[in-house]
Assembly symmetry: C2
Homo-oligomer: 339 residues x 2
Amino acid sequence: MTATIQDVARAAGVSVGTVSRAMNDYSDISAKTRERILEVAKEMNYRPNLVAKSLSSKHSRSIAVILSGFLEDVMFNDFETMLMKGCYQFAIEHDLDISMYVINTKTQTEKSYEQLCYEHNIAGAVIFGLKNTDPYFKSLEESNKPCVTIDVEVGGENVSNVTNDHVAAFDELTQYLIDQGHKRIALVSGRKNAAVTVQRFEGAMNAMKRNGLELPKEWVIYTNFLKDEADSEVEKFLKEHGEAGVTAFLCMSDMLAIGTIEALKKSGYRVPDDYSVVGYDGIYVTEHTDPKITTVDQNIKDKGYEAAHLLYDMIEGIRPAQDLILPHSLVIRDSVKKV
Amino acid sequence: MTATIQDVARAAGVSVGTVSRAMNDYSDISAKTRERILEVAKEMNYRPNLVAKSLSSKHSRSIAVILSGFLEDVMFNDFETMLMKGCYQFAIEHDLDISMYVINTKTQTEKSYEQLCYEHNIAGAVIFGLKNTDPYFKSLEESNKPCVTIDVEVGGENVSNVTNDHVAAFDELTQYLIDQGHKRIALVSGRKNAAVTVQRFEGAMNAMKRNGLELPKEWVIYTNFLKDEADSEVEKFLKEHGEAGVTAFLCMSDMLAIGTIEALKKSGYRVPDDYSVVGYDGIYVTEHTDPKITTVDQNIKDKGYEAAHLLYDMIEGIRPAQDLILPHSLVIRDSVKKV
DNA sequence: CTGAAAGCGCTAACAC
DNA sequence: GTGTTAGCGCTTTCAG
């Protein structure tokens, strides 16, 4: 069995209180005793029980990454993984305890965010994958525990949002396509009412209008951000609109771009020779597809890192809840042809 | 603030002990009071504090997924994600609390597995990504907390291993390639001393020898299981050995197969027309690459599920530590040409 | 500076 | 059946 604070106190010939003071680097203890206790603790391989610690102190150095829809979604891609990496990176650098929990629409109704935090003595969480139809969406607003959402604006005293200027970014991406001479552009869209979809749509429209272009309804291809859907829907689109249709596909995510490219290849077309395709997100694989995909890089890992950072600052009272808009950058690669 | 057991007791006009009995569904309590207490608890939105619970009861319904190398490895692919999904799936179905922790070589030296469990009052863990050079590798053996490793045999009273018969599976895969008429086969290998590499190598050799084939040293391409390495190494290989070389690439993982195909395409070859390629693992993307990759499906999600299952049974004393060998299946798709 | 003691929220004997 | 009470391992007053 692992040594407890009692064991260390006994071995060092001091009280548990003193050991606690030594372990937590308090000032009201003589350097000499601290040294000695630390020595003894090390020898005994003592590790404070985090659980007891947080129970007793009522505040914890534990944060969480909460994933919504992890088990439901067919695919979980680089995006979420990179975001997690960023969070874990920050946590490890700052000696925070971090763990990942999974929720779904059902568990959200059973247990509020605050209760989840309370159950595990978690100081706060970064939440991914929340849909605007999820129960948490409203309950977060009244939460006393700080949290940071990604790309989804919830509102409330204790909730921050880390995002990008998706409107501007998608505008840039669209403009790039236009600058390359594309006038007839299909939009491969994500879930109709998702916040990110709405923003990106707005960006696309801004660019199109500015350039006097139109986006007919039938050129908008809706998906739930799933690659396979892009694949099948684009295939269908090609059959319906044929060669005379568009010259480029503007995709709301990289996964959709990958699906689109698959559909195009399957139908016997070459990218970018026959059709140009652009993605959005900047996930790892876009650098390794054929062709390499032109996309908007969201610096996803940084996004995770900054989300954890902001959460930490909120917990410590350093920064208030806020919307953090991170920079993005257009990454030009090989999936667009100048026409 | 969230209600405590005290609050519920007071509101229901009973003692905390009784509330505890009601909440935990003990038998020595009248149905009537139980009902009433549950009612009150529900109304108050009471949720027991798991932390206090495990601290007091000394056993917890919390398990963990521990990832080694999550932050170091350039890529974290479908494989680990599917494994996690399986674990979380089991946990959720069985009302276990599950969370994910990340370790690396450094943190492994600072804190043993047992200490990590102790710190968080975790009953046990499924551990992924352990390298045979990692500090945990030895320390797990003496652990009192049960754990389940994936594809890596550690040994010890409390450690199980969930794996596949990689020797047989890789033998089958190789045999398939041979059956399709391939005699000159390059092996795209993983990390030289990794357990999985050794096993797969053995499988390949078994099949080759049985068929009177040779595997010259220069046809073995070593990587660290990274796609990009496969890409660059295979490209190099093609330059060195040219057209007259091999007719097929036998890859130790799907990611390596993807990298290999990329290299082949980049060098102007078609798959499977010019070269055949097979992968191993059965990750999601192999179904959606161009061409679809012939591979060995490990049923990765099941693997995660069964790992969590076994862990649970070990914790509950239902099953002892053991090596669980799960079935695999050859999935024939489009990346191999009959020659 | 250090020890003693109360208490975090809960469980698990032990009484009655 | 139910209440009472002693901890679980730790932090944090409060004395001295």
